[in-house]
Amino acid sequence: MKLIYQTWWKVLAVLLIFSTLITGLLFPVPKLAILHETIRNLYFHVPMWMGMLSVFVISVFYSVKYLNTGKEEYDLASVECVNTGLLFYSLGLITGMLWAKYTWGEFWSGDPKQNSAAIAFLLYCAYLVLRNSIDEEQKRAKISAIYNIFAFPIMIVLIFVLPRMTDSLHPGSGGNPAFGKYDLDSRMKVAFYPAMLGWSLLAVWIATIRYRIRLIEYKRNSID
C-alpha cells in the first residue's frame, strides 16, 4: 500500500491524459465510411472501460484480502474501488451512447452490448444496495466482499463474452471486426495505448483519494 502515497505515477497519469488530448484530437486517423471522425471516440470510450476494469480488479483483490484477514481497511479500499468503478462505468456508457447516436442513429438502440452493460450496471448497483441493507459493520464487510467476488466473473461474462456470441453492432462483437483488426494502424496506437494507461492510472488515483478520505473518517470514528 506504499505505492498509493507516491507521486510519480500520478504525474504520469496527468501527462498521459494531456498527451492523448492532443494526439487523440489532432493526429490523423484512417478515413472510413460511416465512422469518419467518430473513430476518435476509441481514445476516450475504451479507456473508460479499461479504467473501470482496473479498479474493479483491485476491488476484488481487496475483497479477497479482507476475507483472509478481516482488516477493515481492505473493505474500505474495496468499496471505494467499486464506487470509482461505477463512475467510470457511467462515463463508458455515456461516451458509448454519444458515439452510437452518430453511427447507429440512436442513443440506445437495444444492442446486445448495450443491454449487457446495463444489466451488469444493475449488478453493481445491487452491491451498493446490499451494503446499505446491513447495519453491523463486520457482517456488512464480509457479505459485500463475498458478493463482490461473486459479481465480478458474472460481469466479465456479461460485458465481454455474451455480446460476442450474438448479433451485436458493437466493434469486436458478433463477427464485426474489432478496431485492432483493420484500422488500428501505428498512428492510432500512439494515441490509444497511452490513453488506456493514463485513464486507468487516473481511476486508481481517484480510488486512492476516496480510500484515504474514508480511512481518516474511519480512524476518527473509532474508539481508542
Binding site: A120, L130, K139, K142, A145, F150, I154, V157
Partner: protein
C-alpha cells in the same frame, strides 16, 4: 471422499424432511398451477389469440417467466427454513462445501421435478406444437439446473443480510437475466425444431455460467456461513 459422504447424507436429510412435510413442493406446485390457470383465463378473454402469429413466442416467454418466479419462491426458502441453532449443528458436523453442495443438488432435483410437472400442466392448458420435444425438454432441465445453482448461492447471501424478498430479487435478477436470455433462445430454437447444432453455443454459455457459479459458491460459502 468425506465431502462426498457428507453431501450424500445431507441430501438424504433434505429429501426426508421435504417428504415428511411436502411443504415446498406442494406450495410451489400450487403456485405454478394457479399462475398457469390465471394466464389461461386471462388469455382466453381475447378470442383467436391461440391462432395468431405471435402465439408461439408468447407461449415460450410466458413459460420461462412463470418458471423464473416459481424457482425464486421455491429456492428462497432453502436457507430461511433452517433455524439458527440447527444450522449451527450442521456446521459442527459437516464441511461448508458439503452444505452448499447438498443444498444446490437438492434444489436441482426439486426444480427439475417441478419444472417437468409445470411443463405438463402448461401444455395441457396451452396447446402448442413443439418441433423438437426432446430438445425442449432438455432445455427445461438445463434451465432448472441453472436457476437452482444461481438462486441457491444468492439465497445464502440474502439470508445472511436480513433475509427480505426485495434483496433476493435485487441480487438475483442481474445474474439471472443472461441465463434466461440464453434459455429463451435455446427453447425457441427447440420449439421451431431448428437444427440442434445451432443451439450448442447457448448450451456452452449456460454450462460456463453454471461452472462459474458453482465454483464461486464452493469458494465463498465457507466465508459466508461463519458468523
Amino acid at each position: 471422499m468425506e465431502l462426498f459422504d457428507q453431501t450424500l447424507h445431507l441430501i438424504k436429510k433434505e429429501i426426508l424432511l421435504e417428504w415428511r412435510s411436502k411443504y415446498a413442493f406442494n406450495g410451489v406446485l400450487l403456485y405454478v398451477v394457479s399462475t398457469v390457470f390465471v394466464c389461461y383465463i386471462s388469455f382466453s378473454l381475447s378470442k383467436g389469440f391461440a391462432g395468431s402469429q405471435g402465439y408461439p413466442i408468447v407461449w415460450n416467454v410466458l413459460f420461462w417467466i412463470i418458471m423464473l418466479f416459481a424457482s425464486v419462491n421455491a429456492i428462497a426458502k432453502s436457507f430461511i427454513q433452517e433455524s439458527k441453532s440447527r444450522l449451527l449443528y450442521y456446521y459442527t458436523i459437516a464441511s461448508p462445501q458439503a452444505i452448499i453442495l447438498s443444498k444446490t443438488i437438492y434444489n436441482i432435483l426439486l426444480m427439475s421435478l417441478l419444472s417437468i410437472l409445470a411443463l405438463v400442466v402448461y401444455m395441457v392448458f396451452f396447446t402448442n406444437t413443439i418441433g423438437d420435444p426432446l430438445f425442449y425438454f432438455l432445455s427445461v432441465l438445463v434451465g432448472s439446473i441453472s436457476f437452482s445453482t444461481v438462486f441457491t448461492m444468492i439465497s445464502a447471501i440474502a439470508s445472511k443480510a436480513g433475509n427480505n424478498g426485495t434483496l433476493m430479487a435485487i441480487l438475483s435478477f442481474p445474474v439471472i437475466i443472461p441465463v434466461i436470455l440464453q434459455l429463451i433462445h435455446l427453447s425457441k430454437n427447440a420449439m421451431y425444431g431448428l437444427d440442434r447444432s445451432l443451439s450448442y453455443g447457448n448450451m456452452g454459455v449456460l454450462g460456463a455460467i453454471n461452472v462459474i457459479v458453482i465454483a464461486t459458491s464452493l469458494l465463498l460459502f465457507p466465508y459466508l456461513w461463519r458468523d
